[in-house]
Amino acid sequence: MTWWHRLLRRKQLDDELQKELSFHIDQHTADLVARGLVSKEARRQAKLDLGGPEQVLEECRDARGTRWLDDLLQDVRYALRTLRRNPGFAAVALLTLALGIGVNTAVFGLLYDTVLESLPISRPQELVQLMWRQGTADGSNFNWPDYQPLLEPQPALPGLFAYLDREANLRSGSSSERVRAHLVSGAYYSTLGVYGFIGRTLVAADDRPSAARVAVLSYAYWQRRFGLDPSVLGRTIYLNGTPFNIVGVTPPEFYGLNRLSPPDVTYPLHAVPLPDGSSYYVYYFTRLRAGVSLEQARAIISNRFRGLLDEELRGYKSWMGDVKINVIPAATGEESVRFQLRVPLVVLSISVGVVLLICCTNMASLLLSRAAARTREIGVRLAIGASRQRIIRQHLTESVLLGVGGGFVGLLAAYWVHHLLISLLAFDRSAAMQFRLHTPLLAFTAGVSVLSGTVFGIAPALRATRLGLYAAATRGELPGASGGRLGPTRVFLVVQVAASVALLVGATMFVRTLRNLESLDAGFNPEHLLLMTVDPRESRFQGDRATFLLDELTDRVPAVPGVRSAALALATLFGESAQKNVWVQGDTYNHGAVAFNIVGPGFFANAGIPLLTGREFSSRDRTGAPLVAIINQAFAREYFPGQNPLGRRFGDQGADSAGKCEIIGVVMDARYTSLRIAPRPAVFQSLWQLAESAPFVLHVRVTGEPGTTAARVRREIQAIDPQLVIYGIQTMTEQVNTTLRQERMFATLSALFGALALVLCCVGLYGVAAYSVRSRTNEIGIRMALGASRANVVWLVLRQTLVLVAIGVAIGVPVALACTRFVKSLLFGLAPGEPSSVAIAVLTLAGVAVIAAFLPALRATRIDPLEALRYE
């Protein structure tokens, strides 16, 4: 019989036991009667020999080994009954814990999905990624085609592959849309071991320039765009205007190697030739064969790379010479995901840990004050023979039960917090980041629930049983214990205040960082500036005809109602900016990279960037005319200090090209990639001169509401040619805001956590002040009878709270200062531990504390001295 059988059939077992023992007594009695005793005396003797019937019964029950479970069930029933009797307490407790556990669960979910969970492929632990290191810089992106020879088949690492991630325009039938495309080398799918859900995946033979162009869809895209139609196999789609044949669909669980940007479509790297002079950034992966260690793989790759430098890459040796190749485990996928999320996840994990600490201390003080109210009951139980251990266990059952209940509600909270996190981190909508209830997540929640239940329950349980019998004999109050009784509660409150101060200091600094960035002058006017990308590659304006489209657009777009002016550029003024190496004439030194963009006539006026000297581009600066350029102040300062840059020349293809391009204007500095980065040297060239068949960005200055104007502009462009693909419609303000998403996330979440901490602190401080007024009624009455004024009494109560807050602040502020040093790189426009931020946090908390303590203080002033004295 198993133990749970014994547990479930308790009643039957008890009956049998009874029967067995009465048989024993009857037999014994019969024997004694046979020996000559009278039957009444015989029965008495038999019972005596067996011992106390209840004791024997109990011992036999203990022998079943299910005692602890019986007790547990009893404790759970008791705890539920107690909680039901006090629904207000239960609700506050559950809500507090649900929030604390919920935010931790959500952050754990994010952590698990992005850095802990292995890729859904077989033997993911064998997958490794190549990294480069040059000096102190390192990265996972390799220049293609420079590093392409690394991919050549080699016996030691047969599975080496590369992939890159980019957006593409996908047309099927007559409708086009932007999709996320992964360009992969031949071994990609075979190394990963991913085969077609329908059809096939790509093979090495597909990745040759001469091969037929084929593509593979992801399951999600197949579902979204083609409704899981199997006849999609063999259909032709156009990617940036190039036809591809669909040969298969990947399995539903496969999301590529980067969870944050799963591909809609994959096609071979060599399917479309790379335009001359341009390059990609690719990621390299391979699989370690059984028996090959990470160190061996490092050695093999490094040797191979050294060998390449000696043979094929000889020309690059001068600058690639000190590059080292490293190999890191990649069971969880692309390294950049971990890199990108490292700081947010660390900051988030610490913050939610502090929030949970606050929730637990709050719960502990709530339970403590309740334990104080139950002292008498516990005293009585101790007096009639309950062991202390038993009562502690029962208290812990109650708190763990609360913890588990909080965990269940916390899962709901986690669902909500997860969505908040995802929206704040602004992941791609297609990111494989749905909230999932998987075993590790549930195990984490269960662990946190039980652990917090134990942590916040242990002190109140110990405390409640310490007074023991004394409490039963008296009214449950210790004489003169008005202060001492609350000892541990005060400790918890101090911890809570300290943690809250730390959170509030962080919140203030993150909110101010966001404010500083938002109010920063970027050097251009982002208001009423509408952006839209136009892709001409499928239209009749291909190749050399691109300038005709530019002319058409500059003529027609400004005439659209609601448009003040419009200008074109290859890239958005603010966003991911390109770089270019420049060689200034009369200067043999390579000055290195400057920011670079290609813009059309009137671009700077349209963007609100003042022209300092010279002129803007005009439509006469087109192909065939002398090459001209406009530079910014920073460029002028760095390369032509104290000189007039107009008429000076530079080139972008080595020292020999230095005379190629003439500077015709200088514009004011602006920030181009990030608000955090001070203006860097930048050079602009004329779009009309360098027009190619590539997507470009229309910058439209609108007078009214951007949405309606955008629709009109879109119609106007499609009237030029319906095959012009338009995407990326957004305002410049939105574009700027996306670069602030991490700052916004920190500001929003830390403000949220800070507010939560404040509310909990308020509850805790109020509780203690109220309890203190209640237990000091007598003393306050005497003071008032002796002539204490109302102000004296209010101060008496407030002082107590303020002392707690002062101690908490004294601990919390240094902790906060120590922590903010770690987030220094996340701040902007203020130093870590800046006094005014600390002051704001401390004053907010003090203000809340005064409000929390004021109500009980007011109640204290209404104490009737006579009543209070009679109370004793």
């Binding site: 067995e20 023992l21 048989f23 024993h24 014994h28 011992g51 022998a63």
Partner: protein, 114 residues
């Protein structure tokens, strides 16, 4: 009358197993048998007999069923399981070894004293 000594720790289980090994038997009979075989030298409190029986049953060393006695009443009869028999053998062996060792030590000290 000589003072009866308490049963050494852990020996009650061994005695019970030994008695049950002779054939299926109910609790009262075990108590009787214990008293007889120990010649009233050791005291077996009847109260501790039943918890011990139940413990052994839960450990799978004893098996029990309800049967009618000679007098026609239903009683719970205990039998030794295969596991119980193995346990009895190892315990008996180790008990004997212990007893011999203790005897040896006692003889040794007697010789030294002489």
């Amino acid at each position: 009358m000589l003072a009866k000594s308490d049963l050494p720790q852990g020996t009650l289980d061994l005695l019970i197993l030994k008695i049950v090994a002779l054939g299926a038997v109910h609790g009262y009979a075990i108590a009787q048998r214990l008293q007889q075989v120990s010649h009233d030298v050791v005291q077996v409190p009847q109260g501790s007999l039943y918890p011990a029986l139940h413990r052994l049953e839960n450990r799978g060393l004893l098996d029990a069923d309800w049967r009618a006695t000679e007098t026609g009443r239903e009683a719970k009869f205990y039998r030794l399981t295969r596991k119980g028999r193995a346990h009895l053998e190892t315990e008996t062996a180790s008990w004997k070894r212990l007893a011999e060792a203790v005897g040896l030590i006692l003889r040794l000290t007697e010789e030294v004293v002489q």
